[in-house]
Structures are given as structure tokens and as C-alpha cells.
């Protein structure tokens, strides 16, 4: 499984891997133009393949006000 962490929402999700970032986001219901996706100190492109067992962070970039 791939662990998706959403630090701002304090939420986590597990999805089966391996899969591309864009497919993981689609399944999690997240629009790609609203987030950046990181794995440790690495920034991932939306077509990057994520291996099973990995943990990635999905960071919202939308600021309000």
C-alpha cells in the first residue's frame, strides 16, 4: 500500500500501489493544480510512479483571504 499524508488536514489515506501520482490524486479526489506532492525531500511530478510501501505528502497550495 502507498500511504498518502495530508498534513494540513491531519488526515491519512492508504491506496494500493504502485501507481502514478496523478492516479493517486484522482482516487483521493484531489485536483492536481491545488497541491504539490513530496516524498521526503523530493518533489514529485504528477506522472511520477510511486512504489508500493512508499509514503508521500500531499500539500495544499491554496491560500485564502
Amino acid at each position: 500500500m502507498i500511504r498518502l499524508r495530508f498534513p494540513q488536514k491531519k488526515k491519512e489515506l492508504e491506496l494500493p500501489g504502485p501507481r502514478r501520482v496523478m492516479d493517486l490524486l484522482a482516487e483521493a479526489g484531489v485536483r492536481p493544480t491545488t497541491v504539490i506532492v513530496t516524498q521526503g525531500k523530493k518533489l514529485l511530478t504528477k506522472d511520477q510512479r510511486v512504489e508500493d510501501g512508499a509514503t508521500i505528502d500531499v500539500l495544499s497550495v491554496v491560500s485564502g483571504g
Binding site: 485536483r31 523530493k42 518533489l43 491554496v62 491560500s63 485564502g64 483571504g65
Partner: protein, 313 residues
């Protein structure tokens, strides 16, 4: 995916709106070029400017400060502590840490000490926090800039912010706002300092990517007061469109800024109104007898004394 610029390194940022993907080094070049082109095209800044950069601790303003310093502008940071429990301390911590890493000490205005912390002020006058925050921030941006002899105030508004605002203004046919909406708001006389938005060409994904790759530690949590902000509704609508039709946002905004657009007035075409009259209460430039900040402060003061009277009675 390989970087579209150097064609050697692995890409880490993909930008469908530009049909491009970049490795970290090439993305830095691309991003800085976007910002400097945005400054050059609209003549936002001159090399001799003293720039007051308004920093909130979020990604956009810290990235803006970072790029302007790297580009050689003379800058100082201004942080306004809004007095929001927990959030303000955390965001101030990020600003101070970033500033220290660049050998800077930001100017800090504490609204609690000024007698107008945002959450309490909003409760007192029964207004939306964001509306009050805008009035208060604009007042201090100008006051600090004016007192500190800065020639320009720079804020971190990006393409997503500006297009959300444009969509809102269009949907409500806010003709006055449309006429003035621009990354350059000219100053007036000696009291009103020019304001610029140098990040108008870059998206939130781009500023967040730049901040992450540069190791800028910004506050990622959202302001707790902004959960109901209408700008978020417009941003969501635009991001749905952008996902399906990449590049729409920049076309939308650049088309709006086109000098031939009859909806808006170019900043250099605006009449020089000279030095505006001074507020009867604080002396700040205003076109009304008392400035909006002093009127707000007075309403808060009255509400406070009314409440104190009720408690005492």
C-alpha cells in the same frame, strides 16, 4: 520525465500551463525569469527602489522576499501580527527564522498592542475577519512604508489570487474595482506609497514548488479566519477550469491587463491626484475626513466600552 530545458536531469516540477517540466536548477531559472519579466513588463520596480516586502509567513510572501533579495533589490520585511491565537505565533516564527537565515530582522507590528487584534475587532463590529484584516493591513503597509521612507510596498499576491479576484469582480460587475485592479497601484503625493504585486505571473503551485525546492520553511496551515473566504470559491472554480484547460488562468489575466481592455484603466493613465488630505484623527492620507482604519478603531472602542458597561452594570 526529463527536464524540458536542459534535457538531461530528471524533472521535478511539471507545468502543463507552460507545456513544460523542469529539474530544480532549471525551474529556479524559469521562476525567476517569470517574476523579473512580470516586473519589467509592467514597470513595477526600479533598481533604486527601497522595497517594503509584506511577509505573512506563507509561501508566496517569503518566496517573493527571497527572489527580490536574490535579484539585488534593497528590501526589508514587514510582518503584521494579527493576534490570532496560535496561528500568529507560528507564522511569526517562520518569518523570523527565514529573515535570520538571510541576515535580516523584519519590522513587526503587533495588532494587540495597537488595540485592534483581528478576532476581537471582528467580534466587536460584527464584520468578516477578512474584511477587517484587509483594512488594517493596508493601513499599516502604507504607514510603515511612509515612515520608513520606502518607495514601494510589495505583496505576494500571485496569479491564482489575482484571477480569483478578477472573476469575483466580473461576476458582480464591480466596475470601480475592475478599473483599478492591476499589479501596480500608483502612489499619490507624499503620503500614499506605490504598491506592487511582482508574483502576478506565477501560480500557487509554482510558488509552493519554488519554496519547497529552495528549502524555505513556510507556514503551510491556512489562516483559521479564512475558511469561509469567498476568494476560495472563485479559486476552486478556476482550478477546475485550469485542470481541464491548462493555461486558461494566465490568458484570462493577461487579456484583462491588455491596455486595449475598456474595463480597466492603465495605472499610468490615472490622473495625479496629488497628496491626499490627512485623516483628522491619525494624519494618514485619506479621501474622507477620517480614514477607514480610524473609523474601524473607533467602532471597536465603542463596542468594547458598551460591553464593559454591560458587565459592570
Amino acid at each position: 520525465m526529463k527536464c524540458k530545458r536542459c534535457r538531461r536531469a530528471e524533472a521535478v516540477v511539471d507545468l502543463p500551463s507552460h507545456h513544460a517540466a523542469f529539474c530544480p536548477d532549471c525551474f529556479f531559472v524559469f521562476f525567476r525569469r517569470q517574476v523579473t519579466e512580470g516586473i519589467r513588463k509592467l514597470r513595477l520596480l526600479a533598481p533604486e527602489d527601497r522595497v517594503l516586502v509584506c511577509v505573512s509567513g506563507g509561501k508566496d510572501s517569503l518566496v517573493l522576499w527571497d527572489v527580490l533579495m536574490d535579484e539585488g533589490y534593497e528590501t526589508e520585511g514587514l510582518y503584521i501580527d494579527l493576534g490570532i491565537d496560535g496561528y500568529s505565533d507560528r507564522s511569526k516564527g517562520k518569518v523570523l527564522a527565514y529573515a535570520a537565515s538571510r541576515g535580516k530582522t523584519p519590522i513587526v507590528v503587533e495588532l494587540a498592542k495597537e488595540g485592534i487584534p483581528i478576532p476581537e475587532a471582528a467580534r466587536c463590529v460584527r464584520m468578516q475577519e477578512c474584511a477587517i484584516c484587509g483594512t488594517v493591513k493596508r493601513y499599516f503597509f502604507n504607514r510603515v512604508a511612509s515612515e520608513g521612507k520606502f518607495t514601494v510596498v510589495a505583496t505576494g499576491h500571485n496569479l491564482d489570487d489575482e484571477t480569483a479576484r478578477l472573476l469575483g469582480n466580473l461576476l458582480h460587475w464591480q466596475r470601480d474595482h475592475l478599473a483599478r485592479q492591476h499589479p501596480l497601484l500608483p502612489g499619490a503625493g507624499e503620503g500614499l506609497v506605490r504598491k506592487v504585486k511582482p508574483l502576478w505571473r506565477v501560480s500557487e503551485v509554482e510558488t509552493a514548488s519554488y519554496g519547497f525546492l529552495k528549502g524555505i520553511d513556510y507556514v503551510t496551515e491556512e489562516c483559521p479566519m479564512s475558511a469561509d473566504a469567498t476568494s476560495l470559491v472563485y479559486k476552486e472554480a478556476l482550478s477546475r477550469i485550469e485542470d481541464r484547460m491548462p493555461g486558461t488562468r494566465i490568458v484570462f489575466y493577461q487579456g484583462f491587463l491588455d491596455p486595449s481592455n475598456p474595463l480597466r484603466k492603465a495605472p499610468d493613465a490615472e490622473e495625479d491626484v496629488g497628496t491626499p488630505p490627512a485623516c483628522a484623527s491619525c494624519g494618514a492620507p485619506t479621501f474622507t475626513e477620517t480614514c477607514s482604519f480610524c473609523r474601524l478603531k473607533e467602532r471597536v472602542r465603542k463596542a468594547r466600552s458598551l460591553r464593559a458597561g454591560r458587565v459592570a452594570g
